[in-house]
């Protein structure tokens, strides 16, 4: 039986981890992820999980120990934010290159300097090419649902890649909301038992994990990762279908909102989509055909599907909670714009907006301003700036 509960995002994710009951969790506390580590420690202390909890001395060791545990044949998890992810950097690539199905909740927070504990996507966006699947969650419900599905996606034989489940620091991690959670048994059945093909602890079948591969083999190993990434959308959708049967909640590669007949649309990740929805409703009441596309899966990037969904839109505004500092917009902007290039004939005009860095409030008024901007571009065919910084003192 599913039940409605009031939980913070971190509580919801910690509950998902408890229900997954991983063999090993190795984690290091960092704001705003800290609650997860604390809640999980209490599950261990109360004997509610079978997990061996490794209280490592850094995030670098958190990811390293998680890699060791996963290679050993255990279902292994960790969780982090911001500087913690940055410290894990080296090992993120090793986890993916070693094809270890690690699942990591990633509570988005700005990167130093200056040091800042609040939400933006600089941390996970920097890791977008590390070989991890990245799933972004709008709220606690999605974070909970995505963590459960991530186990099945990561461990699928056609994928075998690590997955990070991102959600917004403080806004979601510490905000209390009502969500529906499942009982332990159906979750246990859904995630199933982990049966790795190779395990270090299977001492009768020794294998060498993490060898040196030079000019003659390295390239093929990377190509295989790319191949797994290309195969993963099917798995992600299959898992979502199965999860929908269980939970009644449907997930895809992205979510569209009033997009079918939209003339102008925004593309935005995570909690900001929740801010935008009522603004779109208001514009619709005024007869303005506004819509939204909220990517759920950023890696693999569903370029073809997204281009198709946006093909009829006149002007697309892509909102990034991270800046590439390349002088050419944020990462989501560049990906979406590149995806639309494949469209035949007249393509939508695409402009970029950078917002909310370091936890700067992102208000309905900001969304309204962006949509007014897009409307003007739709009417005139012109825009003032390719990339605009929103809600900032300039």
């Amino acid at each position: 039986m599913a039940k409605k509960v009031a939980l913070t995002g971190n509580e919801a994710v910690a509950l998902a981890m408890k229900q997954i009951n991983p063999d090993v969790v190795a984690a290091y506390p960092i704001t705003p992820q800290t609650d997860i580590v604390q809640y999980f420690s209490s599950f261990v202390a109360d004997g509610q999980v079978d997990t061996e909890f490794v209280t490592v001395e850094s995030e670098h060791s958190a990811m390293s120990a998680t890699v060791g545990a996963s290679a050993a044949g255990a279902r292994a998890m960790t969780a982090t934010s911001s500087q913690g992810l940055a410290l894990m950097w080296e090992v993120l690539y090793i986890a993916a290159g070693s094809r270890l199905p690690i699942v990591m909740p990633m509570v988005n927070r700005a990167l130093s300097a200056p040091i800042n504990i609040h939400c933006d996507h600089s941390d996970s966006m920097g890791a977008r090419d590390s070989g991890w699947i990245q799933i972004y969650s709008e709220n606690a419900q999605e974070a909970y649902d995505n963590v459960l599905q991530a186990i099945r996606i990561a461990e699928h034989p056609d994928v075998q890649l690590p997955v990070m489940v991102c959600y917004d620091g403080f806004i979601i991690s510490h905000g209390m909301e009502t969500l529906e959670v499942m009982d332990d048994d159906p979750v246990k059945k859904f995630v199933g038992a982990y049966r790795p093909e190779h395990a270090l602890l299977d001492v009768d079948h020794p294998y060498t994990m993490g060898p040196l591969a030079l000019q003659d083999f390295y390239f093929e190993s990377r190509r295989q990762m790319a191949d797994a990434m290309e195969h993963s959308p099917k798995v992600i959708l299959d898992v979502a279908k199965e999860y929908a049967k269980l939970s009644g909640r449907e997930y895809s590669l992205f979510e569209t909102y009033k997009l079918d007949d939209a003339e102008i649309a925004i593309v935005v990740l995570s909690s900001a989509a929740g801010t935008a929805r009522p603004v779109i409703d208001d514009l619709r009441k005024k007869g303005i055909k506004a819509g939204m596309l909220k990517p759920r899966v950023f890696r693999p990037f569903p370029a073809a599907e997204m281009a198709k969904a946006l093909s009829h839109v006149k002007v697309v505004g892509v909102l990034d909670r991270a800046d590439s500092l390349a002088g050419h917009g944020g990462p989501l902007f560049n990906e979406v714009r590149s995806a639309l290039y494949e469209l035949p004939g007249k393509r939508p005009v695409v402009t970029g907006y950078i917002f909310g860095l370091g936890g700067r409030d992102f208000t309905p008024e900001n969304v309204d301003g962006i949509l007014a901007d897009l409307k003007q571009t739709a009417d005139t065919g012109k825009y003032a700036n390719l990339v605009t910084y929103v809600g900032i003192r300039e």
Binding site: D23, A65, P211
Partner: protein, 320 residues
């Protein structure tokens, strides 16, 4: 302990055909250590010569499960492997009795991997961490490490017109690991293989974390002929440059006392990396190295004596 003849008949976990240099003591250290347990082992390896030369894909010299993650995280990685073992064993998913061993060079142990090692030892993971200390980053071409002895000529502490090699002494990592109060700590040398294997046996059966620091010749870095590798190590022990001792649950014990202590000059003179120390004007460096070695031995004797007295006092206390 098994005899040499018996040991030679036991199978090697590290097979032949790897690409380490002739005279490199790293594979000798590995073989001697792994002869000390009959249990299946899972081997962790820090990035370094041993790792790159034994696992060139699609080949591997390892007959046991083996994992390399990165340079600085071998201890953390094996923490995870060992945690997985405890978890799966507790859940009844594994019934075998497995041992965990890590091999890292002095770069991966004294320096870049020090935090990871310290954390893993403090947490008490049941693993044997073995440092094969050849006193520099040999894999990248002999750059100095914090294990490099004073005066050594390396590519980042080169002998120049005004600097005569590495200016400072090496870090005493074995003592630092003893300060972690783990189950077993030892310093050993493959030249004294009985001593080394006996220590490894204790380490594998210790009721917690164990650390063994093993001196390992690098013929290229030390600039000695390959066939001299073991002889140089013997000199290191007999000059007190590399004392053989253990710290078993806090009890310090010198496990080998040379009958006749040789001056450290004999160890230094045998190696090209110290050649410049014997030119005019550098006498004070040799004197300082001798002073440092003498001081180290005196301190070690004092610790061993303190342990002995503590033990006797405890025994007397029990008796009365």
């Amino acid at each position: 302990m098994a005899t040499l003849k018996e040991l030679s008949a036991t199978p090697d976990v590290l097979g032949p055909g790897h690409r380490l240099c002739a005279g490199c003591m790293a594979p000798t250290v590995v073989r001697q250590i792994l002869h000390a347990t009959k249990h299946p082992v899972v081997v962790g390896n820090a990035t370094g010569c041993l790792e790159v030369s034994t696992t060139i894909y699609p080949y591997t010299a390892w007959r046991s499960p083996w994992i390399h993650n990165a340079f600085e995280n071998a201890a953390a990685t094996t923490s995870g492997v060992e945690a997985a073992y405890r978890s799966l064993k507790r859940q009844g998913k594994i019934d075998k009795d497995i041992r965990f061993v890590v091999f890292g060079g002095d770069g991966g142990t004294y320096d870049i991997g020090f935090q990871s090692l310290s954390g893993a030892m403090e947490r008490g993971h049941k693993m044997v961490y073995v440092c094969y200390d050849n006193g520099a980053y040999m894999n990248t071409g002999t750059q100095r490490s914090s294990a490099t002895p004073m005066g050594a000529d390396t590519t980042t502490s080169p002998v120049g017109k005004v600097v005569p090699g590495k200016p400072m002494h090496r870090k005493d990592l074995t003592a630092i690991m003893a300060a972690h109060n783990i189950a077993y700590v030892a310093q050993a040398s493959p030249s004294h293989y009985n001593d080394l294997i006996a220590k490894a046996e204790k380490a594998f059966e210790a009721d917690g974390s164990a650390f063994i620091n093993v001196l390992a010749t690098c013929p290229r870095g030390w600039r000695v002929p390959a066939e001299m590798s073991v002889e140089i190590l013997r000199l290191a022990v007999e000059t007190h440059y590399w004392p053989l001792f253990e710290v078993d649950h806090g009890t310090w014990k010198i496990t080998y006392k040379p009958r006749e202590v040789k001056p450290v000059v004999e160890f230094l003179k045998a190696q090209g990396r110290f050649r410049h120390l014997f030119t005019k004007g550098n006498e004070h460096i040799v004197e300082e190295i001798q002073r440092y070695v003498d001081q180290g031995w005196a301190e070690l004797e004092a610790k061993a004596e303190w342990s002995k007295q503590k033990k006797e006092a405890a025994a007397a206390g029990t008796a009365s």
